[in-house]
């Protein structure tokens, strides 16, 4: 394998005139003449000119540099990098699923509508909500849909003055971003030293200008928010809605339901809790659920089960409107339903407990060497504030880079912002004890290396194809196209 040649950029492998295809003479020679002059390309298209074998070797070599959950342990906190069972892929790739057209009429797509309806019903049962829409195309899209639902709810009551969303300072960045895109103003609420919402600080923020409060439970420190019933009462007394960010739903599966806690609207990231793939930037899926009384506001179109047992696609004039051109990313929905049916309710109820056990096992096995700022039983994830011994100057970034040398993906670093050296670990339930023990052993080794040879840890990774990119320079002077190299 000549990696040195083929690991260059595809543009560097380009040679003038080289190509891997041949096209027949056009059967419509006059067609070009009928295209208006202003629409014709004047310059070269700028694509690399390469033969087929070069393309194959380039991308095959590059693929061996990939790291995914199929390659190794991926304890990326907050991302729930659980295994994506292959049966999900088989189901989604079945021709009856994969070959469907999104505009196929309801009477020719009863099976697909049954899949949509089954998944939506399962999520409603898991979330304790009245009804789910599966239409949003990703988690952030679901968040936006949920906040637009909150606006639609207040608008439908003729209440136009609610322009604020309260968000804890430990929240994921998508929360304020979604609120801003929905046209709402973000009001942060402080956390207590244990990372949970400060209820006393919340009280004065609640008034008749608040549309909703967003919460993640367990929060981003992996701590279960115990004050939810009280917070729900305060939020509801102020006339606002309580929004559940489903990012951390995994440990609660089958154990506790946001709907029972008093949440009004929630979204779920299927790629986290329900084992659909994370990779490649998508496609995603961000189902949104609402409590009873808000169903009529859900986005159009909706899938309904009729009395005769058949399904239909309906639109309602009361709806907040459309958020998508179709019923969402159907193949992703198929994978999530496959996961739910494979595990069954018993299996789902075990998942959260095992994820919680794994996280606590790692936390307790490393706490003598890493700084544990919130010392309590965590749920599916927890946060260290860097190494306990700060005298070596070895930072969380260095520990993360050193892990790559040992073949582990790094945990999430420098999030949440509550601590300076956050190192956020989420093992999920799908890892064996052997994998987890070997991760613990490596984390312990790195802590000892940091004391014995800090320089070596500070210059890690030493064995990866790309070592330490200059991220400051990249952010300051990004070179985004081949022409700029």
């Amino acid at each position: 394998m000549n990696n040195k040649l083929y690991d260059k950029l595809i543009f560097e492998l380009s040679r003038q005139g080289r190509r891997g295809y041949s096209l027949p003479e056009t059967a419509f020679p006059d067609a070009v003449g009928s295209i208006p002059e202003n629409l014709l390309r004047k310059s070269e298209i700028g694509l690399p000119q390469v033969d087929e074998l070069t393309v194959v070797r380039h991308y095959t070599n590059m693929s061996t540099n990939n790291f995914g959950v199929d390659t190794g342990f991926y304890p990326l906190g907050s991302c729930t990098m659980k295994y994506n069972p292959k049966i999900n892929e088989e189901m989604a790739a079945a021709p009856v699923i994969a070959a469907m057209h999104p505009d196929q009429p309801a009477r020719f797509s009863q099976g697909a509508l049954a899949i949509y309806h089954s998944l939506a019903s399962a999520l409603a049962e898991i979330g304790g909500m009245a009804e789910f829409t599966l239409n949003p195309y990703a988690g952030a899209h679901g968040e936006l849909t949920g906040l637009m639902l909150a606006r639609a709810y207040h608008d439908s009551r003729g209440d136009k003055k609610r322009t604020k969303v309260i968000i804890p300072d430990s929240a994921h960045g998508t929360n304020p971003a979604s609120a801003a895109v929905a046209g709402l103003k973000v009001v942060p609420v402080k956390s207590l030293p244990d990372g949970t919402v400060d209820v006393e600080a919340l009280a004065p923020l609640l008034d008749d200008t608040v549309a909703a409060m967003m919460m993640t439970n367990p929060n981003t420190l992996g701590i279960f928010e115990r004050q939810i019933p009280q917070i729900a009462k305060m939020v509801h007394d102020a006339g606002a809605l309580l929004y559940y960010d489903g990012a951390n739903l995994n440990p609660m599966l089958g154990i506790a339901r946001p709907g029972d806690m008093g949440f009004d609207i929630m979204h779920i990231n299927l790629h986290k809790t329900f084992s659909t793939p994370h990779g490649g930037g998508g496609p995603g899926s961000g189902p949104v659920g609402v409590r009873a009384g808000l169903e009529h506001l859900l986005p159009n179109p909706r899938v309904v089960k009729k009395d005769d047992g058949t399904y239909d696609i309906v639109s309602s004039p009361d709806s907040m409107g459309r958020v998508s051109s179709t019923l969402g990313n159907f193949a992703v929905q198929m994978r999530a339903l496959s996961y739910i049916l494979s595990l069954g309710s018993d299996g789902l109820m075990e998942a959260g407990g095992l994820a919680t056990l794994n996280a606590n096992y790692i936390k307790e096995s490393l706490r003598d060497l890493y700084d544990l700022p919130v010392d309590t039983v965590c749920k599916h994830e927890f946060v260290f504030d860097g190494l306990k011994d700060k005298s070596t100057g070895v930072t969380t970034l260095n520990v993360a880079k050193r892990l790559l040398d040992y073949g582990f993906h790094a945990p999430t670093i420098y999030f949440p912002l509550l601590f300076h050296e956050s190192l956020m670990i989420e093992p999920t339930e799908t890892e064996s004890l052997d994998t987890i023990d070997s991760f613990i052993a490596v984390m312990r080794d790195i802590a000892h290396e940091a004391a014995a040879d800090p320089e070596m840890v500070k210059t890690a990774p030493h064995t990866t194809p790309v070592r330490r990119p200059d991220d400051t320079e990249a952010a300051l002077h990004p070179r985004l196209t081949f022409d700029e190299l």
């Binding site: 420098y414 912002l417 509550l418 601590f419 300076h420 991220d471 400051t472 952010a475 300051l476």
Partner: protein
């Protein structure tokens, strides 16, 4: 010249003419890491105490800049546009904006250096 500090780690140095230089503290630059962008207001913009007057972005995080006291922007530090890393080199020397204070009485509510050092020692996040 006297320097005042905020709990959100901005400083305000007031000169003899009553103008203020606003930047972030050395503690803040260390916590942020390498600064890659400073979003600054325009000369003539007016802010009230506690307003966001811009944002600072590092390789680790983005953070709002909070104005320690009310005032009108009379100068922005243009050198930071080309080289935001100046803040990492010397945060106290490389101020971000110069303001004309509109309510000097507000200074009484800010921390002086001793109070700020005590505040840092209390380990705020």
């Amino acid at each position: 010249m006297k320097t005042y500090f905020t709990p959100t780690h901005e400083y305000l140095t007031v000169d003899s003419e009553g103008n203020g230089f606003v930047g972030i503290t050395d503690y803040a630059q260390k916590a942020l890491g390498n600064v890659v962008y400073v979003d600054m207001p325009e000369v003539g913009d007016e802010f009230s105490e506690g307003d966001d007057f811009g944002a600072i972005e590092s390789v680790k995080a983005a953070s709002d800049l909070i104005i320690p006291a009310s005032g009108e922007v009379i100068e922005v530090n243009g050198a930071l546009e080309d080289n935001p890393r100046l803040i990492n080199e010397d945060a106290m020397a490389n101020w971000i904006i110069k303001i004309r204070l509109t309510d000097p009485a507000e200074l009484d509510s800010l921390m002086d250096l001793d109070a700020y050092m005590a505040y840092l020692a209390s380990d705020p996040h």
